[in-house]
């Protein structure tokens, strides 16, 4: 089994007609994901490589019965842009709420650079008006249940189907690194979830840990955190309280200087809050195995998996 998405998940790609939407949407389809529709206002009636495009999410859901949505509004590339301006992800909040209003139950938003005020607003709007809808992201690499479904920007070929490890991570490239470390050692994954590095993620570590704990095929969990906020400390409390499955953790940013945003909007040490050291101590205290780098995390997980069967 897997968490959040599987071979039955059907996906609407919001922004399918854009260059990023087309590239990743079709890449997801090529992986085997059931991409059933695209949404771009004003482009209804057209198609992208055979995938029908609708004007609204509601229309697409009625026509195809899609259950998951992949919001590709804008991927900010740190290219040759002016120093002070980020690519405006103005459309993402509206697209997320549209998807929820249309009855979509799982929304993956990879958009980078959404203002924190917008995130706080749509997070709470979803929590209140659409409690059954799960949002993953924004600013995340997405989710992959190897061999079944891939929604997002993860390269499918670095994942290995069959479990028994579930992965949850706040960072994109470190998610790939984790998949790679395990796949190279022939240890498969049930599901790999990138929750994203923004201040108000729709899905938390705890949501994923709880789902992995419930999933019979997941036997162990790798969790990758980073500096900033207190999500890792909250996860540690959950692990101590509710996890029976072994958890291996790695926290990035041990050497990060305080007060500087390390790339992710959420990755900042404020005062004495949010240091890697405090997070590692809390996780160790909770009974998790804490590794000092991604390679070591992979090695520790391989050792644990060997003892499982």
């Amino acid at each position: 089994m897997s968490i959040f998405v599987d071979e039955n998940t059907t996906v609407v790609v919001q922004g399918l007609t854009g260059s990023q939407g087309r590239f990743h949407g079709l890449r997801n389809r090529d992986y085997g994901t059931r991409v059933v529709a695209g949404v771009t206002p004003g482009k209804g009636g057209t198609d992208v490589d055979g995938v029908p495009v609708y004007d609204t999410v509601a229309e697409a859901v009625t026509a195809t019965g899609a259950t998951a949505s992949f919001v590709v509004e804008a991927v900010t590339a740190t290219g040759a842009t002016a120093s002070f301006v980020v690519v405006p992800p103005k459309g993402a909040p509206g697209a997320i709420l549209d998807a929820a209003a249309a009855g979509i139950s799982f929304i993956v938003c990879i958009t980078e650079g959404i203002p924190a005020q917008d995130e706080a607003l749509f997070y709470n709007r979803l929590r209140r008006d659409y409690p059954a809808t799960r949002l993953l992201g924004p600013n995340c690499p997405g989710v992959i249940s190897p061999g079944k479904c891939n929604i997002g920007i993860t390269s499918g070929d670095i994942a290995l189907p069959g479990g028994p490890v579930g992965i949850v991570s706040r960072s994109g490239t470190l998610t790939y690194q984790a998949l790679h470390e395990l796949s190279q050692q022939k240890v498969g994954q049930t599901t790999c979830v990138g929750i994203g590095g923004d201040p108000v993620p729709g899905t938390s570590f705890i949501d994923c840990l709880a789902a992995f704990e419930e999933d019979p095929d997941t036997r162990a969990v790798m969790m990758i955190g980073e500096i900033g906020g207190s999500a890792e400390e909250e996860a540690a409390a959950f692990i101590a309280r509710s996890m029976t499955k072994p958890v291996v953790c790695y926290i990035a940013g041990v050497t990060a200087p305080p007060g500087r945003k390390m790339g992710h909007a959420g990755a900042i040490i404020s005062g004495s809050q949010g240091t890697a050291q405090a997070k590692m101590a809390a996780l160790e205290e909770a009974g998790a195995t804490v590794a000092l780098n991604p390679t070591e995390a992979g090695e520790r997980m391989v050792e644990i998996v060997k003892t499982l069967s």
């Binding site: 900010t76 709007r125 490239t173 201040p199 790339g263």
Partner: protein, 384 residues
């Protein structure tokens, strides 16, 4: 982006938050002009983005023009914790009856806005939070509902602000919330918020952090852009649109993705080295970005080796390889490169680089192995 006090006060003024009359001065004579305009007595305040200005001699009271000259001359050029004072804020001195604290920020755990008010202002609020947590009144605000007048009135009362200050403080809190939300602040803090002897409530300091992600809807922020304190390397990186933070070690770092970049710093540290910088070339970086990144690192005299750590997702390894080849042709790199290339199109990337591999461009299979080699090269004094 953190604002200077004077910028924060100007930002507050846009939202109707009362502050003392004052102005900015870059020279002693400008300080006198601003003092005359604000009305004596005045306070001459160093504009630096670091706490503890008062203790460092960066805030002085002046009764007349002569005193303004003396203090302005002393404060301009003063080094406060590594920040050299280049600008002053001169404002009319207030007769303070009481000092309070008020702020809005995001509570990431609760995923709600957090309003904090205290009758114990003028001191480090983190210290109050540890020594006397009961002295801070806290209120979660759901962004869907906003801050109601009733809630604002309740929290200033709960915090124990003096009776006569409460109506004005509650109103000011409403304005501060608007500034925080509509002004896209990560933090909007007033410490101290004061009650004057003649019964007025206003902001005596301003600490504002803006959310860079919201810059697209705030053209007015452009005036703040030129005033950021960046070192030479950071200025160049910003010009080239790179996500760069200068550090003090000898191994230059280039990675794709914030998490991987942070992790690369950590791994270099674990194998006995130290990073010269954090540099995330981001998702989907092309050859140009890679070349620009190498150029920026090449300007750092402390760098002895460069560790390029790429795990291709959106970023394609062949593009990265092209960028490195381009940079090798364009820039006279002082330090050897150690490269680790994995993920999307890694094979094609290695193919492109195969003719260029030498003792100046070393390729290693793993992140840990590459880190060890980069550190060894740095310690051997890799510079030509």
């Amino acid at each position: 982006m953190d604002l200077y006090e004077y910028q924060g006060k100007q930002y507050f003024a846009r939202y109707g938050i009362p502050t003392s009359p004052g102005g900015v001065a870059d020279t002693v004579e400008e300080a006198v002009v601003q003092a005359e305009r604000a009305g004596y007595p005045v306070v001459v305040k160093a504009q630096v983005k670091v706490g503890g200005r008062g203790k460092a001699g960066g805030i002085k009271l002046a009764a007349d023009a002569d005193e303004v000259r003396t203090h302005a001359a002393a404060i301009l050029g003063l080094d406060i914790k590594g920040h050299v004072v280049q600008r002053l804020w001169v404002e009319h001195a207030s007769d303070i009856s009481h000092e309070y604290y008020a702020s809005f920020t995001l509570d990431r755990a609760a995923k709600l806005h957090l309003c904090m008010v205290s009758a114990k202002g003028g001191v480090d609020i983190e210290e109050v939070a540890t020594t006397d947590p009961g002295a801070i009144a806290r209120l979660h605000v759901d962004p869907v509902d906003g801050l109601s007048t009733a809630a604002a009135s309740a929290i200033v009362a709960e915090a124990g602000l003096h009776e006569e200050a409460r109506p004005q403080a509650a109103e000011l809190l409403g304005a501060l919330y608007r500034c925080y939300v509509e002004g896209d602040c990560d933090l909007a803090e007033i410490n101290p918020l004061i009650l004057t002897t003649d019964g007025r409530v206003h902001a005596l300091d301003a600490k504002v952090t803006l959310d860079d992600n919201a810059a697209f809807r705030h053209p007015e922020w452009e005036e703040f852009a030129g005033t950021e304190t960046l070192d030479e390397r950071e200025r160049l990186a910003k010009e080239k649109g790179l996500n760069y933070i200068g550090l003090s070690g000898s191994v230059g770092i280039i990675a794709n993705g914030a998490g991987l970049a942070m992790s690369t710093l950590d791994v270099v540290n674990q194998v006995g080295g130290s990073a010269a910088n954090f540099l995330d070339i981001g998702g989907g970086a092309n050859a140009d970005v890679m070349a620009a990144a190498l150029e920026v690192i090449n300007t750092d005299a402390a760098v002895r080796s460069i560790f390029v750590n790429i795990f291709g997702g959106i970023t394609r390894c062949d593009e990265v390889a092209k960028g490195i080849v381009e940079a090798l042709g364009r820039v006279d790199l002082r330090s050897p490169i150690v490269l680790r290339l994995d993920g999307t199109n890694a094979e094609a990337g290695h193919e492109i680089l195969s003719d260029h591999v030498s003792d100046r461009l070393v390729v290693d299979e793993t992140m840990l192995g590459a880190a060890r080699r980069a550190v060894a090269l740095a310690q051997a004094g890799g510079e030509r």
